[in-house]
Symmetry: C2
Subunit: 546 residues, 2 copies
């Protein structure tokens, strides 16, 4: 041994913010304003929480579940469990009771920390969570007199009160489990992805690279993406390691409130799915000049691909860089990143050319490998033309699901992502679609994502959803559902004409429906499975088959 | 196993630059101009070199030595050895023949790649390198007809010619050795520090964090610090991973040439020891306006602490941030970093207050632990007052020396750095001195570094060196040797008066000598051991003892 083989533990990173920036602020949005705490306070409370959890019988490797919005108590749960070697299981409270019952039982959660506002949702599971020994209720103003039918419940503050503010984090193996996050698959039971200390450590450091998200201690990070989605895309870990200011929206998931908070707290970077940023854009357009975004420098946008027109709007109107990221729960999630200027050869490109690159899913993070394969797992050329299924591998990529290996989701050490795409000569990944959402028409493939992103560029179209509809001659044909802005008037002919400028005739929509809303999944994506089911139920048929 | 346990290998990172930025430039300074190559070319040549080395019998874990300036062939040697699993042993050609003979024998180097200009120096070792089976001569313009008395020599280009441009890098253990670098200790034999793949991988990623050196693919990196000093401070690895433009000065280590290159190639960041930047400052002051530093944004400065006045000059005159780093060969080397604005609480400080922070050695990089201890290894408080020996540990810190464990340099998993210092309440490290260079006066300690940095702020003083001189009453007293700018007139009284503003009376120099030069070590630091030996030889005694 020539160099020290120090285990890569998140406990090493999580105490750092409070050491280097003890007085920096951690802020939770409340009903009437915000709650301000310092790094030192939250760090001490995290150590107290670890003592309390340990006192409640939680041992190294055991699961502590959270049923929480984004707030500093949720951050304390991240910090405490990472430090003490427990496993943080972040429950998505938008899932169905059936799924939640399955997940809590499958994970064998020992303790659940629940935001008081979510108590009614959790109470629906009463008697269906035999592994759970303790419920810890995190209260907020207006809910002080909470009561619950759940057994063995205790107030969070009472739970940690008087506990020592120093817990000597144990030295454990770096491949020990750290977190658990279930994906709401469209088929079968939810599957658990178990993050490990080493995988999250590498992900965290990589996320702070200048060429990744450029996260810095000088940032004010507004993590809107739920902390139950792939560990909040890693923001809570990275921000806390750096000692950056962090703002947590709690349950106030309203675009007007987002704009107010970003102004008032001088947010420099925020994370969210495209629909969040569509909402913010609408608010700003409705009341331009009401908000001060001068501190804001970048947004990270993932979950699904943001429309190029949205990326451009934020740049043109607010001088804000929307960083597109591609990944999934199974990839921790950061896999590729798209920046406006990712390398020197792009510095002198025109803005239009730069944004053509940003529209791609981006370049692979260092340390990760990605490849496109045909159906026999032959690698395809990186020519920007060949389309194949995207496989990925590396130190923060899932190798099997938790207690449910699912070998068909893996091939020879690679994760099958379920996305299809191409890679160009300079190693940019371009996502075509989820493999199950491609429209197979006349032996060719039509990307629903490409059509959607183009249609949403029409003035008045707020959202567009493309699904395949069966067709006896062409196999499948693309159908568009669109949500219009109030008062907007966009016809099927307008959509067809707009698409004709970019797509071949056989790729054009076979029909366009105006709808009030598109059903969304619990993770904020368009629920195409539901869309297709609704169409079936309504007995929808394409116009030329009626 | 829930996440993939992909080994952290430098081969994964080193091929990346050529993938993401195949046409980016790698530039070597030559006698008459520069040689331009692309990433793709150099990557292909590195793979060819690996085949050639393999053909010459080099196996995984065996040492390939370089006796080279900074240039793209040296980079190819980094890339090829890291890829194939061989160990790159970077020889410091400024060491004595005796030391080189010892080091080459101790490392059992199998092959040496030598720059043609350094052939005469290597030939002095003829017959004293029994382990070396092959000498590979990297030629430059003007040296095409080289000849050597060394046996079994071959031209570098002939060595790699016709070899395949794809070497399938083997998957090896991440704790396999990667590089070897001997420190020229002031006592005893040189000691080898062996870097490993994992340690260098973590060091490389951390170096690219925004809050570290902010290295980016959009940078043009000018690595002046020799590639034989702690792997060129990691710049060749990081730059190549990112696909940044890199410029290598080769043997043209002249401050005028540096200024010309930085102008012509639009260098954005450069690395070097303080004397390099003193030289650049002198050139710019002598011919202000001759050079264009508009692209230059930051310099990294390490090896020894840069005087605060120098840091400030680069900021005030060139709008360039000098990033102070502290570390040593044993720490890979990056341990602490000092930036002008390292956290949010510093944003609104005055420039003077910001530069007071930059004068400190800085904040610890994430993942590393550092502590100050008294002589019985009790940790001392982080109060900015208590001074103790600095111990450090973490995943890129040396755990023992190569085939020469030296247990007295380690304590309970920590490396004893040999530096003494203090840590303030916000975890800034402040280096007082090398423990052996402290002046012990009347039971108190005087920092030679503090005195030197203050004295070099006097207009006309180019360099200052403080050493202890024995004194029967006070134990030791500080003696100043200073080099003046041509024509400058600075008296002992001027120095004493200047120091009186900051130092207590008992800390003031006991004598001030003007000298023509300060002897330097092979690593570019002031050779205080030599200074003290010279004074002894001259029979120097302090004024009050004469």
């Amino acid at each position: 041994m020539a160099m020290q083989h120090t285990p890569l533990l998140m406990s090493t990173l999580m105490d750092r913010g409070a050491r280097v920036a003890p007085e920096e602020e951690l802020i939770t949005v409340t009903e009437t304003g915000v709650r301000r705490q310092t790094y030192k306070e939250v760090r001490d409370r995290a150590h107290q929480l670890a003592h309390a959890l340990s006192g409640a019988g939680v041992k190294i490797g055991e699961r502590v579940a959270t049923f929480m919005w984004n707030n500093t108590r949720h951050l304390e749960a991240y910090h405490a469990t990472a430090g003490m070697g427990a496993v943080l299981h972040t429950l998505n409270f938008r899932l169905s009771d059936t799924d939640l019952e399955y997940i809590i039982g499958h994970a064998q959660d020992k303790v659940i920390i629940v935001d008081v506002e979510q108590l009614p949702a959790l109470e629906k599971l009463q008697g269906r969570m035999p592994s759970v020994e303790r419920v810890i209720v995190a209260t907020e103003e207006g809910f002080e007199g909470w009561q619950t039918t759940l057994p063995n419940a205790i107030d969070y503050e009472e739970f940690i009160e008087g506990k020592p503010t120093q817990y000597d984090w144990p030295m454990i193996d770096e491949n020990s489990p750290l977190g658990l996050c279930y994906t709401s698959g469209t088929t079968g039971k939810p599957k658990g992805v178990e993050y490990e200390h080493r995988s999250q450590y590498l992900h965290t450091i990589t996320q702070c690279m200048t060429d990744s998200l450029s996260l810095s201690a000088t940032d004010c990070i507004f993590g809107i993406v739920p902390m139950f989605h792939a560990m909040g895309w890693g923001m809570p870990w990275a921000g806390t390691m750096l000692g950056a200011k962090q703002v947590f929206p709690h349950r106030f998931m309203d675009p007007v409130r987002f704009c107010e908070i970003m102004s008032a707290e001088a947010v420099t970077m925020a994370s969210g799915v495209p629909t969040i940023w569509q909402g913010v854009k609408s608010v700003v357009e409705a009341a331009p000049g009401n908000f001060d975004f001068s501190a804001l420098s970048r947004l990270t946008c993932g979950g699904s691909a943001p429309p190029p027109s949205l990326i451009r709007w934020f740049y043109d109107e607010l001088d804000v860089e929307m960083i597109q990221g591609w990944g999934m729960t199974e990839t921790s999630p950061l896999a590729t990143i798209s920046r406006r200027i990712a390398k020197r050869s792009q510095i002198n490109l025109s803005l239009d050319e730069q944004f053509a690159n940003v529209a791609k899913a981006g370049q692979l993070m260092p340390g990760i490998e990605l490849e496109i394969f045909d159906e026999e797992f032959n690698p395809l050329p990186h020519d920007g033309e060949s389309v194949g299924e995207i496989l990925i591998r590396g130190p923060w990529i899932c190798s099997e699901y938790y207690h449910d290996p699912q070998p068909d989701k893996f091939h020879d050490g690679w994760l099958l992502t379920g996305d299809v795409g191409k890679i160009d000569a300079e190693e940019y990944l371009i996502i075509s679609d989820r493999s199950k959402d491609l429209v197979k028409s006349g032996g060719e493939w039509i990307s629903s994502v490409d059509l959607e992103n183009h249609i949403v560029g029409i003035d008045g179209v707020e959202m567009a959803c493309v699904v395949a509809q069966p067709h006896p001659r062409w196999d499948e044909r693309p159908l568009v559902l669109m949500v219009l802005r109030a008062g907007a008037d966009v016809s099927m002919e307008d959509v067809i004409e707009h698409c004709s400028s970019k797509f071949a005739k056989w790729q054009l929509p076979a029909d366009v429906l105006c709808v009030d809303e598109i059903p969304m999944t619990a993770t904020g994506k368009m629920n195409k499975k539901q869309v297709r089911a609704n169409l079936d139920e309504q007995g929808y048929v394409l116009p030329d088959l009626r």
